[in-house]
């Protein structure tokens, strides 16, 4: 598993941080005012607060608990309780490879040289959580690997799938540029109802 989709870029505009996860790894995904995306461990080194509850200030991500600010490389830049102190360089949030392509934010939990999956010119429609594991979802569509699942449908849909737990994943759906987004969206909800076994 190299690159995993964690969000659509339109859901993480500049200045915003959101929680996310890939299997057992909790992530804070944020977009700096510069437009660069970052995927960090969702745990502040100070007292363990989730950084996804924090806020973007300038080009830093600040923790909501005591306001410690972290630069884009993850190193601590400022400790409000000690404004005159230069934080030691050892105070650092673990960071992961993160980049944007085709309107999707991609994360790799390990170093990788591989390219982002090819979306074939499709455009993002929406993200949708579903109570089904990523591998069960792939099996349903007869796909070998869940990273991207091409779905034969009227809308030329492609799923970039984010595995979350043993019984949940998030589908980031893309479709051909001329597809009607609201009808794709309704089709997705019907699919979810069917797959989760809930009457639509």
């Amino acid at each position: 598993m190299d690159w995993v989709a964690v969000a659509l870029t339109e859901d993480v505009p500049a200045g915003v941080v959101i929680p996310s996860r890939i299997e057992d790894t909790d992530l804070a995904i944020w977009c700096a005012p510069s437009g660069r995306y970052h995927a960090w461990s969702d745990r502040c080194p100070h007292r363990g607060m989730r950084l996804s509850h924090g806020f973007v200030r300038g080009e830093t991500l600040a923790c909501i608990y005591h306001g410690w600010q972290y630069r884009e490389n993850g190193s601590c830049d400022y400790i409000p309780a000690h404004p005159k102190l230069t934080p030691p360089s050892t105070i650092c949030v673990p960071t992961y490879a993160c980049t944007e392509a085709d309107g999707v934010v991609w994360v790799s939990l390990h170093q990788t040289d591989s390219a982002m999956p090819d979306m074939g010119g499709r455009q993002p429609v929406r993200s949708m959580p579903i109570n089904l594991s990523a591998s069960d979802l792939a099996a349903h569509f007869g796909a070998e690997d869940f990273t991207t699942i091409a779905v034969v449908s009227d809308h030329d849909v492609l799923f970039a799938v984010q595995p979350c737990t043993d019984s949940a994943c998030v589908i980031h759906a893309l479709a051909s540029p001329d597809a009607d987004r609201s009808s794709v969206s309704r089709w997705l909800e019907d699919l979810r109802a069917t797959l989760e076994g809930v009457p639509a």
């Binding site: 909790d26 969702d42 745990r43 080194p45 100070h46 007292r47 363990g48 607060m49 989730r50 509850h53 909501i64 608990y65 005591h66 306001g67 400790i79 409000p80 309780a81 000690h82 404004p83 102190l85 105070i91």
Partner: protein, 278 residues
């Protein structure tokens, strides 16, 4: 059975709130409690009576044999104070995380914005912390912080002075300068009932000099503050409190929390604590 954990007094109810016998959890075990004809009782799951103390408006019990009396707060007995039962809040975190958050002032500007703190007044000056061996308690004194509205009775910003005291592993007492009575201390406590090692019931209690606010104003002020703290406490990872250095990074502002963790380790209080994986 672990004496270092069981032989302490724990709060299990606000006495004024006991209308019928009820069940609750203490250290992961079921207990029942009730009050009849002015006397409160607590029983374990097998129906054995547990020791009780009624103090500070709360009912206390112990699953073990406490080797000392429940602590006292002499300041709270002075006349003219209003005793405020705040009620309770259940929080999905270790009881020790709840106490540690109560000992922390550096979060005021960010979590209790414009009430207990506000930017740019974020600096925490050095204060004194020690473990008072004679009484086996943690004390922090000369703690000072700028506050926009320190209490319901405060008008405008003032620098407030605090003292923190940890008289038992899941209890903390805060003494803070009292806006209407310079020279006296308001008393605010946090009594924490460990339901399990990752779930607690928090019973704040106050003994204040405040002649103007109504009881419900004082209660809602404290509840608002506590709701803000809960949004933090339920989102710290891990839920248990790491006692060994390495997992989290303290600074000088965290001297009280460092002493609290060290003291817990010294007395062997590991319930709700995360120790380095063996």
């Amino acid at each position: 059975m672990n004496a270092a954990i069981d032989n302490h007094w724990y709060p299990v109810a606000m006495i004024s709130g006991i209308d019928a016998p009820r069940e609750t959890l203490l250290l992961g075990k079921k207990i029942t409690l009730g009050c009849e004809e002015g006397t409160c009782w607590v029983k374990d799951a097998s129906g054995n009576a547990l020791p009780t103390v009624e103090r500070f408006g709360h009912l206390w019990t112990s699953p073990g044999q406490p080797n000392r009396d429940l602590f006292t707060i002499p300041e709270a007995d002075s006349p003219g104070r209003r005793l405020v039962d705040v009620g309770s809040v259940k929080v999905k975190c270790s009881p020790l995380r709840a106490v540690e958050n109560f000992l922390d002032i550096a979060h005021f500007p960010f979590v209790h914005t414009d009430i207990l703190g506000a930017e740019p007044h974020t600096e925490v000056d050095r204060y004194d912390v020690k473990i008072r061996e004679e009484v086996d308690e943690v004390w922090a004194t000369k703690v000072k912080f700028f506050q926009p509205q320190a209490a319901k009775s405060a008008e405008g910003g003032i620098t407030t002075e605090y003292m923190y005291r940890v008289p038992a592993p899941t209890c903390s007492v805060l003494y803070k300068t009292c806006p209407p009575r310079p020279g006296e201390w308001d008393v605010i406590t946090l009594f924490v009932q460990p339901l399990t090692d990752e779930w607690c019931e928090v019973w704040p209690w106050m003994a204040l000099y405040d002649d103007d606010s109504t009881m419900s104003e004082m209660v809602s002020f404290q509840q608002l503050i506590f709701m803000q703290d809960r949004s933090i406490l339920e989102n710290q990872l891990p839920r248990k409190l790491p006692l060994d250095p390495g997992m989290e990074v303290p600074t000088q502002a965290d001297m009280t929390s460092v002493a609290y963790r060290r003291w817990l380790k010294k007395i062997g209080y590991t319930y709700g604590a995360q120790l380095v994986a063996a």
